[in-house]
Symmetry: none
Subunit: 403 residues, 2 copies
């Protein structure tokens, strides 16, 4: 959807409220032929009752057949086509560890790796060292690397993965990765792809030189590789495009981070679903748009734990009356992508979606599930990034186009 | 769908197999109000049973309301948006008669026509001369036309229609058609639209001059008109874009030709549906992707022969167990377009589509037909060129997008 079109039609003098409730990895599959999906199996009387007054459908975040990562999937729900609004892995890494990335910072996703006596890579993941070792090595590099004129930050992510951030003036990040993605060769030099990125590329090369010296007696993690060297994107902000004072309510840094990336406020983490709804109630009068993120549906999907994924959905269902008591103008209940327990991973399957609004044309289907959503008025395989304009309309926030 | 996106996500180290079974002109209409379509009327227990384990939908090859020709319709099924990947009629003519077109050849679709004593066109189709006359005239021109530095090939197509190919160095085909598409005027001169095409335009004008001299005593076919002057397109190849070693199994040159156009292998024709399946079995271990083309559903549609079109579908159904015995990862059963017997011609109606895959979220609809497909999870009126990315996903051949 064209942002300029939306902005040109915005109505601002309204107090209507939009809630986007995302159960991460919501979409599923039956575990055996003829069975129910996780969402279909869940006892969720509140959602089923709401479905009868709502529109249903199945969205896909990116394109048909494409399995979304969490970052792009949320961008889509926020109205940003993730193919057009690409965000570097370095930036996503920073969001994931709650690093407060600044406009001119250059971020990269790093791997500790193993090289032999000739400097040739023998293991791109350094034997998948434990997280504690990764933490110690990041600390070592934080303590010892010194590059005049810039600050260098290392943050452990998990096991062999870390975040590198370079902070200084006049940095650009159009720089080749140093990870050759193969064994038996040396890491590549960080090479600038355009002249503006020469300065940052030189700094990264110097960082790598010092790091190799500092790590040389470590085993197996005696070297590092950098990928997805990137800066914060300069995108139109969500509050500006959609005319909504907006806030993210989430337990995990990654989701607050993606929301922050598009300009939403992002208060400190809640520690439970109940606390998330507490926060929603507390902030109700201060914002127009509320993104509420539920993580564990995805985690249990990744574990292949069908019963627990079902149970998480039921827990959210039990909290739904508190959300409805706030009387939202529009409530969207969906996932960012599917994470079927049967596959134990993110998948490309379209995601069940419910949109409740006072002005909606209800499908009259008293059930929220994959098969029910197939029959709904939102359609099957519609782009996730079309939800926001539709929500704006139902919130009475868009003028007529033309006379 | 963006080819670059797909290519960036390809997983290559998998042995999964994709079969695209195209029953040409599959989509139909009831012959009278309240009746069944051809596909609905067919007794096809194997397809109906497979439907219950599959996803259904109705695709359209080009755009809503647009009736596809066979070439563009197949390009769409191969994942190429036919509006973006336009192929000249001259090239399609060459494919249709199994002419081995080379990269620098210039091909045109020709009509024999009738002109009066002043050279003004009186019949653009020369009274629809019989095919044998067209064959004799092509032979005459092949024997007599001589243009220094280039080879000229004429091939009969059907009745008044023929193929012209000019072979030489440095030819480009951005050239105006000579057919004015009206009566009472002279044929237009072949005029280059850009400087690179001057050479070929000059050769075509010389060809037309010699042809008019050679044909002057013929009646009624004493002149010719050229349309769709074109060269082989320089497109990303199907095996490269989708990472699939690919083969076309078809009885007619046109369909092997379109497959060859996008870089599929194209072994000699099979002579029956049984031989097509024999070939499929024989090639099973050598390829990743198999396009199997069934022609006669379309032919009987064009004839308006409802009973025979139904019977062809039933013959294909009887062969389905042999395909399923190969255990394809993904099987798509669809048509390239609709050819309703009630209309006796190609039509714009969306085409019934079944996608079976082990990872699919089955619709649970135990019937394959136009009405059943309307309820399916693939959706109604979805672009035919989205089938390939979805098939890749279900074949485990696409990585996650972003983190």
């Amino acid at each position: 959807m064209e942002f300029d079109l939306i902005k040109s039609l915005l109505i601002r003098n309204t107090k209507s409220k939009i809630v986007l409730l995302v159960m991460d990895g919501l979409g599923g599959l039956p575990m055996e032929a003829g069975g129910l999906t996780e969402l279909e199996a869940a006892e969720k009387p509140n959602m089923d009752a709401l479905a009868g007054k709502s529109m249903l459908g199945l969205h896909q975040a990116i394109r048909t057949g494409i399995t979304p990562g969490s970052g792009p999937a949320h961008l889509s729900l926020f109205g940003y086509d993730p193919v057009k609004f690409a965000v570097g892995r370095g930036v996503l890494s920073a969001l994931g560890v709650d690093f407060d990335l600044q406009k001119s910072d250059v971020a990269a996703r790093g791997n500790f790796c193993t090289v032999d006596a000739d400097g040739l890579i023998t293991d791109r993941r350094a034997g998948r060292i434990p997280t504690e070792v990764g933490e110690r090595l990041c600390q070592l590099l934080n303590d010892k690397v010194r590059i005049p004129g810039v600050e260098v930050f290392l943050r452990p992510v998990k096991e062999y993965r870390f975040l590198l951030v370079i902070r200084g003036e006049g940095l650009s990040a159009n720089i080749e990765e140093t990870d050759p993605q193969t064994l038996g060769v040396k890491p590549l030099p960080a090479t600038a792809i355009d002249p503006n990125s020469e300065k940052a590329a030189g700094i990264i090369r110097e960082f790598v030189r010092q790091a190799q010296e500092i790590l040389k007696n470590e085993s197996p993690a005696n070297m590092l590789l950098l990928r997805g060297i990137a800066q914060l994107p300069d995108w139109p902000s969500f509050p500006e495009v959609f005319g909504l004072k907006s806030v993210a309510i989430a337990m995990y840094p990654m989701y607050r981070g993606v929301a922050k990336l598009v300009g939403m406020d992002s208060p400190p983490a809640a520690n439970s679903y109940e606390e998330e709804i507490d926060l929603l109630e507390k902030l109700w009068n201060d914002y127009d748009f509320f993104f509420v993120h539920i993580k564990k549906t995805d985690s249990y999907g990744e574990d292949g734990n069908f019963a627990n994924k079902v149970h998480e959905i039921e827990k959210v269902d039990a909290l739904l009356p508190r959300i409805m008591a706030l009387d939202p103008s529009v409530l969207i209940i969906t996932g960012d992508h599917s994470t079927p327990c049967a596959m134990k991973t993110h998948s490309w399957h379209p995601v069940p979606t419910l949109m409740y609004a006072k002005t909606c044309r209800p499908d009259g289907i008293n059930s929220f599930g994959e098969r029910a959503c197939r029959q709904g008025g939102l359609g099957v395989r519609f782009p996730g990034f079309e939800l926001m304009p539709l929500a704006l309309a139902h919130a009475g926030r868009l003028e007529k186009f033309g006379a």
